[in-house]
């Protein structure tokens, strides 16, 4: 547009006579050369072709960036199909799951059951923390292990909870004590039930392992209460993190250490032996997963003992009556899996080991799962655990052969990174393309196909058409967009520092969620209805588009798309599920966001952006699963940060919500 006008202007201004003189000069100089048919030389054709291709490429890309988003969505919908699933294999040859002869016999089972009954009688440890810990330490001592107890204080919102971890180190008789495996069990489960059999299995194995000399790794038997905070305290102390008096968690240092912990297995068996299956929990803090070899080994060992293994409390049948039932069954599991991974807050004690590069998982007993025929015996469970320990004991190395990125549709199969990462990237790459488009649009996006270069009359040189310049003429304003970004991020930072306080007030019941929601809405509204006019004034209206300067909202949208796209792509390497769940609503919102005249378009943009905002997502969740679930999730997210250092809250506050506000700003900016 602008270029054509200039060329007109300049041609007018250049005026007749000047051109005439030029023509004369050219005539004189060109008389020597014979007049030739105007055919385009090879080089000129190449140049022209390159320009035309570039032009149409720009056109295509600028019009069709949403295609990537659609393709990503469709691909995601295909994931539950069996064609995308691989059967889990053990890549580390030294593990040999299930190949060893097992010794866990009736005597050991009897030990376990007697301990279980004793623990039953002791009841809830919260009444008498030190007494329970004392009991465990005595028992461990009686097996000849180096036992000890770690006391810690946990400052909860309204009271201070005192806890104790009892642990014992079994030194491998032949080993040099440099590597260790942790077998842990919490006293209480998430649902408040006493983990009687889990603790009794830990005790039984502590007695069991002393009978053999074939262990190469140390065993650390750990019983935590309360959990998983106890596990957090123990792990921090084990890795020498000094407990500072100001923090929410204060703990004693450990006076016993084993070697470097390589694997950890967490046992959760409530009830009294009547299980229909064992379930596995794999996803750790921030959605980090253990090495697939650990999971596969445990699952294999359980299956060798004839245990049905389920994931997320679902045991997949071996065969389905038709494809659609299998599709929906696996879709459900994958959805559950991605939801819990996306949240990234610890689901059980094993989740906290991920931070220390320890491959950990939880094995829990499942009651009355459908699709299982007969109850399983404690004998099987014990032998399965023993065989898993024997396999892990075979390998004097870190688990490093298999992969850490996978999605499990069933306990026996997985979707590898190569299959599920493309759609995740495609969703967010849309934004990167969009930012490129915005950059072109703010610069010299040619409105019409470039004219062909033609030879100057009577000379050997050609000149290129007027609307192709050696440099780009439009100035891209940077100040307003940068300031907007900075302000939005500052707002996010403030929200981040306020969040724990708000959570605290909500816990002691002074704030109800609706007021919080209202507050957030007001904040956002003020930011994008108040900040822009001030900025525009500050910029003397340079936010608007002129003939020589691009409109500021284009640059802002360009930067915003680039940042959000980069953030989501980066997130997809760490926690793909979260990346998916955030990209699906926010990408279209960002694509739509632009200042507009029509009110319907404006309302549509605002609605999309509001739905994509963290609050909107919570709203959707509360519509979907009920308000209390949404509240619980919000609380979990904040606690996950303050207690365990889960990154979801910082990400939302520092990146996601600010970008959402940026989208708001874009909608409100002047065209």
């Amino acid at each position: 547009m602008t270029h054509s006008t200039w060329s007109q202007l300049s041609s007018q201004a250049r005026g007749g006579p000047a051109k005439g003189t030029e023509m004369l000069r050219f005539k004189r100089s060109a008389t020597a050369a014979a007049p030739s048919p105007p055919k385009l030389a090879k080089e000129l054709r190449r140049i022209h072709f390159r320009r035309v291709v570039g032009y149409y490429l720009q056109k295509v890309i600028s019009s069709s960036s949403w295609i990537f988003y659609v393709v990503g969505l469709l691909w995601l919908l295909l994931l539950p199909r069996d064609e995308f699933h691989h059967v889990a294999k053990v890549d580390e040859n030294a593990l040999l799951p299930g190949q060893t002869s097992k010794y866990f016999g009736d005597l050991d089972l009897w030990v376990a059951t007697s301990y279980r009954d004793q623990i039953r009688t002791m009841g809830d440890p919260s009444k008498n923390v030190s007494g329970h810990a004392e009991f465990l330490e005595q028992e461990f001592r009686s097996f000849g292990l180096d036992a000890s107890t770690q006391n810690f204080l946990h400052a909860r919102h309204d009271e201070i909870v005192s806890g104790a971890n009892s642990y014992a180190v079994f030194r491998a008789p032949r080993g040099d004590g440099t590597e260790a495996i942790v077998i842990s069990a919490p006293w209480l489960l998430e649902n408040g039930a006493v983990n009687a059999e889990g603790v009794s299995y830990v005790l039984a194995f502590a007695k069991f392992v002393t009978r053999f000399s074939h262990w190469a790794k140390d065993f650390i038997f750990l019983v935590t209460h309360p959990s998983p905070i106890g596990t957090q305290a123990w792990l921090e102390a084990y890795h020498g993190v000094q407990s500072d008096l100001s923090s929410w968690l204060q703990y004693d240092p450990l006076d016993r250490h084993g070697g470097v912990i390589h694997e950890a297995i967490n046992l959760e068996f409530d009830g009294n032996g009547a299980y229909s299956a064992v379930g596995i929990l794999v996803d750790g803090l921030n959605g980090l997963l253990p090495n697939a070899d650990l999971v596969t080994t445990v699952v294999r060992c359980a299956q060798y003992e004839g245990l049905p293994v389920g994931i997320h409390n679902v045991v997949s049948p071996n065969k389905f009556d038709d494809n659609w039932s299998s599709y929906f069954h696996k879709a459900d599991i994958i959805l559950e899996y991605m939801k819990s991974q996306a949240l990234g807050v610890p689901t059980a004690s094993h989740a906290l080991y991920a931070r220390y590069h320890i491959e950990a998982m939880t094995v829990r007993g499942l009651h009355d799962v459908k699709g299982t025929q007969y109850p399983i015996t404690g004998h099987q469970i014990g032998r399965a655990i023993e065989s898993a320990l024997r396999s892990l004991n075979n390998l004097l190395e870190r688990l490093h052969h298999a992969y850490w990125f996978y999605i499990m549709p069933t306990a026996q199969s997985f979707i590898p990174l190569s299959v599920y990462i493309p759609p995740v990237i495609l969703l967010s790459v849309t934004l990167v393309i969009e930012s490129l488009v915005m950059w072109w649009a703010s610069g010299d996006l040619h409105q019409s196909p470039p004219a062909r270069p033609n030879l100057i009359e009577g000379t050997e040189v050609a000149n290129h058409p007027a609307d192709i310049s050696a440099f780009n003429i439009r100035i891209r304003p940077l100040f307003l967009p940068v300031v907007t970004l900075v302000l939005c991020h500052a707002a996010g930072a403030i929200a981040f520092y306020l969040a724990p306080t708000v959570r605290f007030m909500a816990l002691i019941g002074e704030v109800n969620p609706f007021n919080m929601a209202a507050a957030v809405v007001v904040v956002t509204a003020t930011i994008y209805s108040f900040m822009i006019p001030t900025l525009q004034r500050m910029m003397e209206g340079s936010g608007a588009s002129t003939r020589t300067t691009a409109p500021a909202w284009l640059i802002l949208k360009c930067l915003g798309c680039a940042e959000l796209g980069a953030a989501l792509i980066a997130l997809s390497t760490l926690n793909p599920s979260l990346s998916v769940f955030l990209a699906i609503p926010s990408v279209p919102a960002f694509l739509l966001a632009r200042p507009t005249e029509s009110h319907y378009r404006f309302l549509l943009n605002v609605a999309a952006v509001t739905l994509a905002s963290p609050l909107g997502l919570l709203g959707i969740m509360s519509l979907w699963e009920g308000l209390d679930v949404a509240q619980g999730v919000a609380g979990k997210v904040v606690d996950g940060w303050t207690l365990y250092g889960a990154w979801l809250l910082p990400f939302i506050c520092y990146v996601y919500w600010p970008m959402n506000m940026v989208a708001n700003v874009i909608i409100g900016m002047e065209q």
Binding site: T21, H357, P453, A462, P465, N472, A566, A570
Partner: protein, 514 residues
């Protein structure tokens, strides 16, 4: 010798200063940068975080290693008899008596001085831009052939201020500015809302020479850069903020480099050479910066480059030798030579950084090690002479190219080097219009600086990624910078062509690069 130029500097240095006084707004970003650094130092633990990041502190600049060296030194142990401390001896003397509480302030002050130096350099750059001559299109029939070289060369010389023509030109320019009518009807409409044309003194000169000139849309209109902005850009650059928080001793090198150029601009040869010598003494590679300094000195004290070289190179060598001698007196042995420059050249410490050396030499077969070491190190220095020959009229552009090459290909680069050459780049703002891949480059840099720390975490902490992840990111980072260098170079060449071939330019001649 350098008298007139220095006087000329004093002529325009006051107007810079009172230019600051007349609008204090331009100082706001500077103080924001300072305040940001102090706040981050004293109210967050960002400092201890960045001290441990490989992106900001390398084995030859890390503050923790420096502390170790200082500790050994103060306890009478030889600091270089070990594998930890690889930094210059005289730094020990600097910090030996400094109370620890002052150290953060010292580093912030370093950044401030760097910014001041940059502002002065930028004002020089602004002056050269103002003096830049865009010859008029003389509609001679020279289109038939590309302009003969001697014409082009004497065009350049008219533009260099050592001919009296340049002097005349400058006077002409000033008096034009004086008698330029305010509401000039000849200003094309697309220039009206351009901030560059709002101030009369910034209007492209010689607008009233020929009527056809203003319509010359083939000629870029540059908003003159504000010298203060360059200082703000440096101080607000997150990379330089990180480097300052990491207390990387690289800041001393940067300060020395900047002041080498600054004194060169003032025409103070000996001080300039002293600063360059200090920079080279601290971290070897900046010895390259002799080239731009000598170019500037030659410009200021109207002598030939070779003559200037013959006078300043001995100065540089003398200062360097003196510094090494002082270090010997301090340490008492020559052990520090192979423990500092030896480490820089032979790269025994393969700690990862944003450069190309570490993974290459972790994976390198031992028998080829020395060969590739020579290749890599030569590659850094090889471009000094040709670059300064080709761009000898643009010393600050030479400085940009050399600092950028250093930042990419030195053995232990860090984000501080990147911040330095990005600041030099922002001085050559008039080139941005000619750059073709700037979006690609800067988004690649952005992606790399987002994904780099993440992949580093996945490799070393989560354990779910391996070294290739981070290596790939360093590769992308380096690739983006290489594209940036070449793109800027071509932009400069293209602009020079546009400037020196007015006739062909106004005819929009199709060009080829051969």
């Amino acid at each position: 010798m350098s008298k007139p130029s220095s006087t000329s500097f004093e002529k325009d240095s006051p107007d810079i200063s009172n230019h600051e006084d007349e609008d204090p707004v331009v100082r706001i970003p500077v103080w924001t940068g300072i305040a940001l650094r102090l706040a981050l130092f004293f109210y967050t633990d960002a400092s201890s975080f960045f001290k441990h990041r490989v992106e900001t502190s390398t084995p030859v600049t890390s503050w923790k290693r420096f502390q170790e060296g200082l500790h050994l030194f103060q306890h009478g142990l030889p600091p270089y008899d070990g594998g930890v401390y690889h930094q210059a001896p005289l730094l020990l003397a600097v910090f030996n008596f400094l109370p620890p509480i002052l150290i953060p302030f010292l580093f912030v002050a370093l950044d401030y001085w760097i910014a001041r130096g940059l502002v002065e350099i930028a004002s020089y750059k602004r002056k050269t831009l103002q003096e830049e001559v865009w010859p008029e299109p003389t509609l001679k029939p020279t289109l038939l052939a590309p302009p003969p070289l001697e014409e082009e060369s004497d065009e350049e010389e008219t533009e260099t201020p050592n001919q009296e023509t340049a002097g005349l030109n400058r006077d002409a320019h000033t008096e034009q500015i004086k008698e330029a009518p305010k509401g000039d009807t000849l200003i094309p409409p697309w220039l009206v809302d351009d901030p560059a044309t709002l101030l009369p003194k910034k209007r492209p000169k010689a607008t009233k020479k020929t009527p056809s000139q203003p319509q010359d849309v083939t000629r870029p209109v540059d908003a003159l850069l504000q010298a203060e902005d360059i200082g703000s850009i440096y101080l607000l650059n997150p990379f330089s903020v990180m480097t300052c928080l990491a207390q990387s001793t690289l800041l001393f090198t940067i300060l020395a480099v900047i002041h080498g150029l600054r004194f060169a601009i003032r025409g103070n040869r000996s001080l300039s050479m002293l600063c360059i010598a200090i920079a080279a003494y601290l971290s070897l590679y900046p010895a390259m910066m002799i080239a731009p300094a000598v170019l500037i000195l030659a410009r200021n004290s109207h002598v030939g480059i070779s003559k200037e070289m013959r006078t300043s190179l001995p100065l540089f060598i003398g200062y360097a030798v003196a510094l090494l001698g002082l270090s010997y007196l301090l340490i008492g042995s020559w052990q520090f030579l192979e423990s500092t420059y030896g480490v820089i050249l032979f790269v025994p410490d393969l700690t990862p950084n944003i450069g190309l050396f570490w993974y290459f030499f972790i994976e390198m077969f031992d028998q080829f090690r020395t060969f590739f070491l020579c290749v890599f190190q030569i590659l850094v220095f090889i471009f000094v002479v040709p670059v300064s020959m080709v761009f000898k009229n643009h010393p600050l552009f030479v400085a940009f190219l050399l600092t950028a090459i250093m930042a990419i290909f030195k053995s232990y680069p860090s984000l501080g080097d990147t911040a330095l050459y990005l600041t030099f780049l922002s001085m050559n703002r008039e080139l941005f219009k000619y750059m073709r891949h700037s979006f690609l480059v800067f988004s690649a840099l952005f992606f790399a600086s987002v994904l780099g720390p993440l992949f580093y975490y996945l490799w070393l902490y989560a354990g779910s990624g391996n070294a290739n992840f981070f290596y790939a990111i360093t590769l992308v980072f380096a690739l983006a910078q290489v594209i940036l260098i070449t793109d800027t170079g071509f932009a400069m060449a293209r602009r020079e062509w546009d400037r020196l071939n007015p006739d062909l330019r106004t005819k929009r001649v199709e060009l080829i690069h051969r």
